[in-house]
């Protein structure tokens, strides 16, 4: 071991001359100027948070914020390897599926005492958001933003079909007016619509729906919302329940309904769907409608190829239900500057920053008053986002996505089971019951 280190040292000498540097070394005095790294993934939001960082630096000249942006596909792996190396960003944008495992391994700082000392008012945030980030009495994050789900549709195609999507209904048996609308919106290559005689489902030019079905264990962008509106409940307790209910027939019915859409030709067969993401397919005009989250508002409304608008989700047997989720800013437990990091998180979680985010209209801020400001900003830009906001305000109109341990594994198990359903390899009941057993086994296996 010692020899190895010696030899490694020699190697360092050998290579250091060639432009390497051996790491910054620990000069951890908090009184001097401090530079914090702040990690986020959404490039669309980087500009707004840069403005926050500049404003923060103005107020606290001793602290500089460097934003570290990585694409979603790499973000979590980067983060883990950085944590392993003890060099993770000081402040991290966190998502609910991933945060329990970081908490479990002691990688996130308990912000509770500091929040208490500084008397952070959790009442300023929209209800429910702040509680997601508490586990065993410890607080790991301050809410940053929230999102809900709505229908996005191609206005020209919907107009041509003579439809109004303002108040659709849905049930897993016959699909309600939602399915009728999807049938009407589907057009084959000879121009016949899905609800007309002679419709050829093997030659579809425009699909009624471009469904995001490869959607992990939550189905945030489609099956999850409809399943909940059908009476499905994910987990016994949220956050941090220990028993999932993926074997619920209500969920199986919903999944089976989505599968039937493919059989009828209203949605692209799963094995022939584009790997490009619904926004691109909808942008190419090969689909009429999709189910999407509020973080996609700008992407769709700024599209130059097609005109899009939003409509509320269909009303299911148990009402209209949208997934409701939020991100938070958390502090890395290994940070050298916990106080400075907390200051920045506090700033991010205050109106000072969230109003900036609101004005840029890239996300709905977690603070109620800032959200109102964001809605105004959208209105000023002639963007109608009421489908998202009115759903968020409707009593009982939203449900929180499940937060629990083993999120990454559950995501894979349920995601794969759903794929089996979409591909017709297994029927929904069988696949989901088996998946649920494996999911719940994770919690009993003493982990």
């Amino acid at each position: 071991m010692n020899k190895a280190h010696l030899a490694a040292g020699a190697l360092l000498l050998l290579t250091a001359a060639c432009g390497g540097s051996g790491g910054p070394g620990g000069s951890g005095a908090d009184d001097g100027p401090v530079t914090l790294t702040y990690a986020l993934w959404d490039d669309a939001q980087q500009g707004a948070y840069q403005q926050c960082a500049d404003a923060f630096h103005k107020a606290n000249p001793g602290i500089t914020i460097t934003i570290n942006q990585a694409a979603w596909d790499q973000y979590w792996q980067n983060l883990t390897t950085q944590m392993v190396s003890g060099k993770a960003p000081d402040v991290i944008t966190m998502q609910t599926t991933y945060y329990p495992q970081f908490v479990k391994n002691g990688q996130l700082l308990d912000l509770g005492p500091m929040a208490e000392a500084d008397k952070v008012d959790f009442g300023q945030y929209r209800p429910g958001l702040a509680d997601l980030w508490v586990k065993d009495g410890k607080r790991y994050g301050l809410p940053k933003d929230w999102d809900t789900i709505a229908i996005v549709y191609n206005t020209a195609l919907v107009k041509k079909a003579g439809l109004d999507l303002g108040d659709l209904t849905w049930n897993p048996a016959d699909g309600g007016t939602f399915e009728k609308a999807l049938a009407r919106l589907t057009v084959d290559t000879s121009g016949r619509r899905g609800d007309e005689p002679g419709f050829d489902k093997s030659k579809v030019a425009v699909y009624g729906i471009v469904a995001e079905l490869n959607d992990g264990s939550q189905g945030q962008n489609g099956w999850g919302d409809l399943a909940v509106s059908n009476g499905f409940r994910y987990i016994d307790k949220n956050p941090f329940g220990t028993r999932y209910f993926y074997d619920d027939p209500k969920l199986a019915e919903t999944a089976a309904w989505f599968r039937r859409l493919m059989d009828k030709g209203y949605a692209a067969p799963y094995d022939k769907k584009s790997s490009l993401g619904p926004d691109v397919v909808l942008g190419s005009g090969k689909g009429a409608l999709g189910i999407t989250g509020s973080w996609m508002i700008k992407t769709y409304l700024d599209s130059t190829e097609q005109k899009f608008a939003f409509a509320p989700l269909p009303t299911g047997p148990q009402g209209r239900k949208s997934a409701y989720n939020g991100l938070a800013d958390t502090v890395y437990a290994g940070t050298e500057h916990p106080e400075a990091a907390w200051k920045w998180v506090k700033f991010l979680g205050s109106t000072a920053c969230q109003d900036i985010v609101a004005d840029s209209a890239v996300a709905f801020p977690a603070i109620t008053s800032s959200t109102e400001r964001a809605v105004k900003a959208h209105k000023a830009a002639h963007r109608d986002v009421s489908a998202f906001t009115s759903q968020a305000d409707a009593p009982g109109g939203t449900f929180l996505l499940p937060v629990s341990d083993h999120g990454d594994e559950i995501d894979q198990i349920v995601g794969t089971a759903m794929e089996e359903v979409w591909l017709g390899q297994k029927d929904a009941r069988t696949a989901l019951t088996a998946a649920n057993q494996r999911v719940n086994a994770l919690f009993t296996a003493g982990g």
């Binding site: 280190h5 490694a8 190697l11 360092l12 290579t15 250091a16 060639c18 432009g19 390497g20 540097s21 051996g22 790491g23 993934w41 959404d42 490039d43 669309a44 980087q46 500009g47 570290n68 942006q69 990585a70 694409a71 979603w72 596909d73 790499q74 792996q77 980067n78 390897t81 950085q82 392993v84 190396s85 060099k87 995001e212 962008n221 490009l276 993401g277 619904p278 926004d279 691109v280 397919v281 942008g283 190419s284 005009g285 999407t292 989250g293 973080w295 996609m296 992407t299 599209s303 130059t304 190829e305």
Partner: protein, 296 residues
């Protein structure tokens, strides 16, 4: 493929097959270029013709960081910061350092195994041969940890460390080559009183330019294309290499599509160095592959 048995029909048909193979080899690369010059916002509706309707160089400008974030996003691309020339520099540094140092050190080791007499030689060499059989992923994980313990994550030493000093394959390859070199030349120099060390530098190395270049070229191509290791140990801005940097055009947030036009523009730029290699070293490269074939 070459079904024709009569030469007269056979030859044109055979040529057709060969040309088809070349087209299959090259067309995807043309498509890469074609996508790279398509405006990002039009790609969804303009992806079938041989040429885009409105060719543009904007994607290349984006990749080279000549546009602002807002311009990039307005063009339908990723607004992520991208420092192309730094990544290019890192790739060149990584490739150059590994290729040069590894080839030289492995030549020395190969020569020692082939020509020098010392105790334990066969045992040592046996270990190297055994290491040939270990899949890289097995050492990848612990090597990652080792580099982390040395505090070398996100540094050039960490990036090059595992392959800088040797790979069992390079040692094995060159040892086999040196075994086959006639001893007469060395013998003559020995008689002239030169030491074996000197002979290696003055006689053997210059004689072995061919195989050394063979090894160096393939090591260079392979290092240039390396993805997983740099992604793991050097994801940081300072040390990121090109292959890892292309990931920036992947999905920025869930449920969005990759930035295809930016990605393809970046890919075009990233293969220009290897294409130059073909242009300038075409014969050498082809010869070196064939050299392996002949020896096989």
């Amino acid at each position: 493929m070459n079904r024709p048995s009569r030469i007269r029909i056979g030859r044109p048909l055979a040529w057709a097959c060969l040309i088809l193979a070349v087209v299959i080899s090259l067309f995807p690369l043309y498509w890469m270029l074609r996508t790279a010059i398509t405006p990002g916002r039009e790609l969804a509706g303009d992806n079938a013709g041989l040429l885009p309707r409105h060719p543009t160089l904007l994607n290349f400008e984006r990749v080279l960081g000549l546009t602002t974030r807002e311009e990039a996003r307005a063009a339908g691309g990723s607004g992520a910061d991208l420092d192309f020339f730094r990544y290019l520099g890192n790739s060149i540094l990584y490739t150059g350092l590994v290729t040069a140092v590894q080839t030289l050190l492995c030549a020395m080791a190969g020569y020692a195994f082939a020509r020098l007499r010392f105790p334990g030689r066969d045992l040592l060499f046996g270990m190297f041969v055994a290491a040939l059989m270990v899949p890289p992923i097995f050492t990848l994980l612990p090597n990652f940890v080792l580099v982390k313990e040395l505090g070398w994550l996100d540094t050039v030493p960490g990036l090059v460390a595992p392959s800088l000093l040797m790979t069992p394959f390079a040692v094995f390859f060159l040892r086999q080559f040196f075994l086959g070199v006639p001893r007469d030349v060395e013998q003559a120099a020995l008689i002239d009183g030169a030491g074996k060390g000197l002979i290696f530098w003055r006689v053997v190395l210059p004689m072995s330019r061919g195989p050394l270049l063979t090894l160096a070229l393939t090591t260079a191509v392979w290092t240039w294309n390396d993805y997983l290791w740099p992604l793991l140990v050097a994801p940081g801005e300072e040390t990121r290499v090109l292959t890892a940097a292309l990931g920036i055009f992947l999905k920025q947030s869930p449920n969005t599509a990759p930035d295809w036009t930016g990605l393809m523009a970046g890919s075009v730029l990233s293969i220009i160095p290897v294409l130059l290699l073909v242009v300038f070293f075409g014969r050498r490269l082809v010869d070196s592959i064939q050299f392996s074939g002949m020896k096989g």
